[in-house]
């Protein structure tokens, strides 16, 4: 019996084709965390280049169309992580790792903050991936370091340095550092510039910056956004 089991296991491990059978589409099911079965909808598709893209909806966790990352076949399995939800900066990424069964269901393990729970998804239709907005380039004139100060929650001043660059031709990058009672490097996952307005978004922290570039005065007149709060944050070129 043990020999047969070993042979079957070996056969299964040598069949990555199982994982390749995961098809683009809308996959629905549940994650059974202790005391609660969470409804899950995962939309998986391929972009024009053939790479996987995806988004996830988990209503009980107030997640709708949250972007997926790292969608890939891994050995005999198939997995993905949540790009910027259910795990803050420096924390473990939440993710799904499973395999396609003979019944056509994608089943396996959901992990979040080191906890693990079984999930099972069935393909129910075509994918409707919510494509996350993409960063745009910023004008050459905005490249480099900008500094400013705002008075926010707690009624004390914080010094801000935003450093902008265009490392890729089609997307800008920003470093966003706030120094108050402590130094915080805010992870920025979206940088856009349109209609003269620069916008930086950090979806994991909910902290954003939005400001209008004023070429005549050489400043960016903006606000630091923290949830429903907005604090004036004018930026000038770092001397």
């Amino acid at each position: 019996m043990r020999t047969i089991l070993f042979a079957l296991t070996s056969l299964a491990l040598a069949c990555p084709a199982l994982a390749a059978d995961v098809q683009p589409g809308r996959w629905q099911g549940t994650v059974d965390i202790p005391g609660n079965a969470l409804a899950v909808t995962v939309d998986l598709d391929r972009d024009a280049g053939g790479a996987w893209i995806g988004s996830i909806t988990m209503p009980e966790l107030l997640l709708r169309g949250a972007p997926l990352a790292g969608i890939a076949s891994t050995g005999s399995g198939f997995g993905f992580t949540l790009a910027n939800a259910l795990g803050g900066p420096g924390e473990l990424k939440a993710g799904f790792q499973g395999r396609l069964g003979a019944d056509g269901r994608l089943a396996g393990e959901f992990s979040q903050a080191g906890n693990k729970a079984p999930f099972s998804l069935a393909r129910v239709g075509t994918a409707a991936v919510e494509v996350a907005p993409r960063s745009t380039p910023v004008p050459k004139a905005l490249e480099g370091a900008w500094v400013g100060e705002y008075i926010g929650i707690g009624d004390y001043a914080r010094q801000v340095t935003i450093t902008l660059g265009n490392p890729a031709k089609d997307a800008a990058h920003a470093d966003f550092v706030v120094v108050g009672k402590q130094t915080t490097k805010i992870p920025v996952d979206l940088v856009t510039f349109a209609e003269g307005v620069l916008r930086l978004e950090s979806s994991t922290t909910g902290l954003n910056f939005e400001g209008r570039y004023l070429p005549a005065s050489g400043e960016i007149r903006g606000t630091f956004e923290q949830g429903a709060f907005e604090f004036a944050l004018p930026l000038k070129r770092k001397p």
């Binding site: 202790p34 107030l62 924390e91 903050a113 729970a117 926010g152 929650i153 707690g154 009624d155």
Partner: protein
Amino acid sequence: MKPTLLFTALLVLLPLAPCAAQATFHGDAARTGVYAGQGPRQFHGVKWSFQTGDRVMSSPVYADGAIHFGSDDGNLYAVDAKSGRQLWKYVTGGPVPSSPAVADGVLYANSYDGKFYALNAKTGATKWKFKTGGERRFEAKGIHGQLPRTQTFPDIYDVYLSSPVVADGAVYFGSGDGHFYALDAQTGALRWKFVAGEVIHSSPALAGGVLYFGDWAGMLYALDAATGKEKWRLKTGEDKFIYNQVGFQGSPAVVDGVVYVGCRDSHLYAIDAATGREKWNISTGLSWVITTPAVHQGKVYFATSDSRLFKIVQASDGKPLAEHTGKAYYWSSPAIAGDVAYIGAFNGSLEARDGTSGELLWEFQTDASRRNLGWVLAADRTVNNSMLFRSGWREASAVAQARQYTIGVIASSPLVHDGVVYVGSTDGNVYAIE
């Protein structure tokens, strides 16, 4: 000093001792957090647990063989300390998230129903009741960032009530109606009341005939216990944006003429008890100090909320002696028994720490914490905020906070008596741990 003189001196002093033989929150009238005898350095097991009908934020007190505490199920309980058997219970009209005080056979307790109770501690029979102007939680527009910003919300973290202290035939406590009361301990008649600026849920500390307490406006008061006359007041931090960094939730401890008190403005203060002048303070960044400090042998023990720090500092100047990062928020106040400090944590653990180094000796985890329904905790037993606080709109924060309590949070402060640690939990139990 010759023994005869000492004896004479004691005879003179004893009748003046205002707070003798009193069971009250945090060990004594001065709220030092120090208990007689040695507490367990090793975990041997749960001696008994007693299930109530709702969370137990109240901290137990010991008197005459019984453990007394309140529960948010609205009852006051007396439980046999040895067996955990219920001796009596008394129904109030609201949650009781405060500690009773027991003196001269009378139990005094404060309830959310806006009434203050005096009961026979042996039987639970009513002696008298006093009606305050009514309890309420601290509230503010957009508090803690709750949305919409223009809406006034009750503070979901304002979970305790003021616990009374008894002295000189009077019982003292603060109220959500913004008054501080002194009642005749025998009759319940009002002796005096003092108008503070805001809700008072801090428990008064009494030393040298002076009462010390804080309110939710961030004001610390010193009142003459006999007359209610204000001796001094001290204003601490403000937070006009989200009212997150303001107010006293915990209580002062007074030792050797110094008031030690933690504040939600993220400081621990050492204040001259006579003048109200600050001697030193410790900033904790943006982390509340809810714990009532314990003060023992020249050391101050306290802990922080969000930054999860357990700290021991020098009482004279606040210099750090030990600091450890725990797993979860500390709201429970440390209790010192012998060379061990005990404190509850928000992940459903009671921690025993070495009184000198602060190192963890052992911890007890509630069953609810082990079950971890809804993944309130991460695998490393820190609080899993990503799964809890997903929205600030409307009641979402309150729902998240309620979910957190399902894992048997220990926000009650431990009592140590006869080598046993007694503490309440949001799973509704009081545990006797040895």
